[in-house]
């Protein structure tokens, strides 16, 4: 295995880099270290942020020196068991019909696919939550079929609706909060990945999988009403 790289972003953020690619195997190692660091509860460690291929460790250098922190991380990385991290398999209903699949026809055309084929590919198998970023609850989903590798828009489109399901750059995403985006909006889920007043506020952990299940616009409306009342409308099971 490639040795870990330790990069400093100022005196309070240590970036532990496992590699430079977007890869589920690298990401599993990131999550294993993340879990080990959380369990270790090291004094002076403030927050850890897992991303595709690195774990950012925010720390208070007046409590724990960088050298000691690096030594502890190396110990934990040696012990961290990739396979033991629990994850869950989610099924998310998603409407691709009007008005939800705003960019579906356009991006399907760019990919040389009929819209129905695009939906089949997107729902073909579970996708993996590699990381959150960009905005609260914005989940990057990896493992997308190669047929759906659309490049990002040249310039951002107007704000998408809440809980948009999007593709771009070889990945899919669920975006809870309306924002202008360079991604293609292909559908909308009635489930709330992020609801600030709910416990838990965030539904899906990094490393969990999400499989999309196509529903029609009428079903979307019914499920969205239930979700708004606080009822979960995605299904979940333990994956391993």
């Amino acid at each position: 295995m490639v040795p870990l790289r330790f990069l400093d972003s100022g005196e309070g953020l240590l970036v532990v880099e496992f590699g430079s690619a977007i890869d589920a195997g690298l990401n599993e190692r990131v999550l294993a270290l993340d879990a080990a660091l959380t369990r270790a509860a090291i004094a002076g460690v403030i927050e850890t942020t897992p991303t595709f291929r690195s774990l950012a460790v925010a720390y208070e250098p007046l409590v724990i020196e960088r050298e000691r922190l690096v030594a502890r991380i190396l110990e934990l990385a040696a012990e961290a068991e990739v396979a033991t991290r629990p994850s869950r398999a989610w099924t998310f209903p998603c409407s691709f019909e009007a008005p939800h699949g705003e960019d579906l026809a356009e991006v399907a055309g760019r990919l040389g696919l009929a819209p129905a084929r695009l939906i089949e590919h997107l729902c073909a198998w579970p996708l993996r939550v590699h990381m959150y970023g960009f905005s609260p609850g914005f989940a990057y989903l990896g493992g997308l079929p190669a047929e759906l590798a659309a490049s990002r828009r040249a310039s951002p489109r107007a704000a998408h609706p809440a809980d948009a399901v999007m593709i771009a750059g070889g990945m899919a995403a669920i975006a809870p909060l309306p924002m202008p985006t360079g991604w293609w909006v292909v559908g909308r889920t009635p489930e709330k990945v992020f609801a600030p007043g709910r416990d838990p506020a965030f539904l899906v952990a990094v490393g969990d999988t999400i499989r999309f299940e196509a529903i029609d616009a009428a079903t979307f409306a019914a499920l969205a009403a239930r979700a708004a009342a606080g009822e979960p409308v995605a299904r979940v099971e333990a994956a391993r």
Partner: protein
């Protein structure tokens, strides 16, 4: 009847801020918090508030407030804003008691970009994800996730009086800009040729008017990347200096997105984050590289200064020029405004 702070007017970008939202970066949540956290700490400390108490962060847009239902102790720290209590001009860092009906006005002054208005007591807002800080882009925290505007009323729980009369606050604990902002190179300095790093450190940059709580944009000669301008998105620190395809750097500030996909040539050290925040659009800024040890030592010194008793000097009523008054009183009339140290 509860004690409230009535917002009589607020410019754009005036928001509730505390020390920020910690622990939710993994969910894509922005850290937020005060642009100049040291100034916020000092304002809270003068009033005996906990360090994490929510304050009003005042932008160059300015703010006018009035107490309702009772008197409220207030402290203003940060930048060099023009302050008035009713008709009376005050120095830029003051503690006072706002009597019902009297009006405190905070306007952009000679220097600085952010001032913190702390109140003696607690602004009655429910924390969202562990913080009362406002993130306007995702409509989280603060008052309804938005900036303050005229007519807003903030209830103050456990409101206390401040000093009788008014008192200038000694702010020498805060870092002042002395010709450069200290940075540590990295985390992606290897994405730049040596010449680009030298150019970054040699250039007198100018802060662009497009700067905001999310990022301070720098104007100057574009920097060349050695390995392209895209990296696989990773986490970004407050103060990380990101160089996108244009070659013009951005200093990522309190409202930065928690992850980003451009190489970061350097990171502003913790001790200088507040100082960086107080630079105004149009002003010049230079950067100087320091080691990790120097960054930690500067951090230790800043926190030690902030932990010392805050000195305040009562202001005599009258129309003597503020600067003279400050000069005289800070030499002759120091009193200890400190409360038991925060935990």
């Amino acid at each position: 009847m509860s004690v409230r702070l009535l917002v009589r007017s607020a410019g754009p970008g005036v928001t509730i801020q505390d020390l920020g939202r910690v622990g939710f970066g993994r969910w894509g949540v922005t850290g937020c918090g005060a642009m100049d956290a040291a100034a916020l700490r000092l304002a809270n400390r003068v009033l005996g508030n906990p360090a994490e108490a929510a304050t009003i962060e005042v932008s160059l847009g300015g703010l006018e407030v009035e107490a309702e239902g009772g008197a409220i102790g207030v402290a203003v720290v940060g930048g060099g804003f023009d302050l008035r209590l009713d008709e009376r001009s005050l120095p830029p860092a003051v503690a006072a008691t706002l009597e019902p009906g009297s009006q405190l006005t905070i306007r952009a002054g000679a220097r600085g970009t952010w001032a913190y208005l702390a109140v003696a007591g607690a602004i009655d807002l429910t924390p969202v994800l562990g913080s009362r800080s406002t993130h306007t882009r995702s409509h989280l925290g603060g008052l309804e996730g938005r900036g303050l505007r005229a007519g807003d009323r903030l209830a103050v729980l456990g409101a206390r009086r401040g000093p009788e009369g008014t008192a200038a606050i000694e702010t020498s604990a805060l870092e002042a800009y002395r010709g450069s902002i200290r940075v540590m190179l990295g985390p992606q300095e290897d994405h730049f040729e040596r010449a680009a790093i030298e150019a970054f450190l040699a250039t007198e940059w100018r802060l662009s008017p497009r700067s905001d709580r999310m990022a301070y944009a720098l104007e100057g000669p574009p920097l060349a990347h050695a390995k392209g301008h895209d990296i696989v998105s990773d986490a970004v620190a407050h103060g990380a200096i990101q160089v996108p395809g244009s070659g013009l750097p951005f200093v990522l500030m309190a409202d930065r997105q928690p992850t980003g996909g451009y190489p970061k040539i350097a990171t502003v050290i913790g001790a200088d984050l507040g100082c960086m925040a107080q630079i105004r659009p149009g002003e010049a800024v230079r950067f100087v590289a320091v080691s990790l040890d120097e960054a930690v030592a500067a951090r230790r010194r800043l926190f030690a200064r902030l932990a010392e008793p805050v000195r305040v000097a009562p202001l005599v009523r009258g129309d003597i020029a503020t600067a003279d008054l400050l000069g005289v009183n800070l030499v002759s009339g120091m009193i200890d405004a400190d409360r038991p140290p925060e935990g």
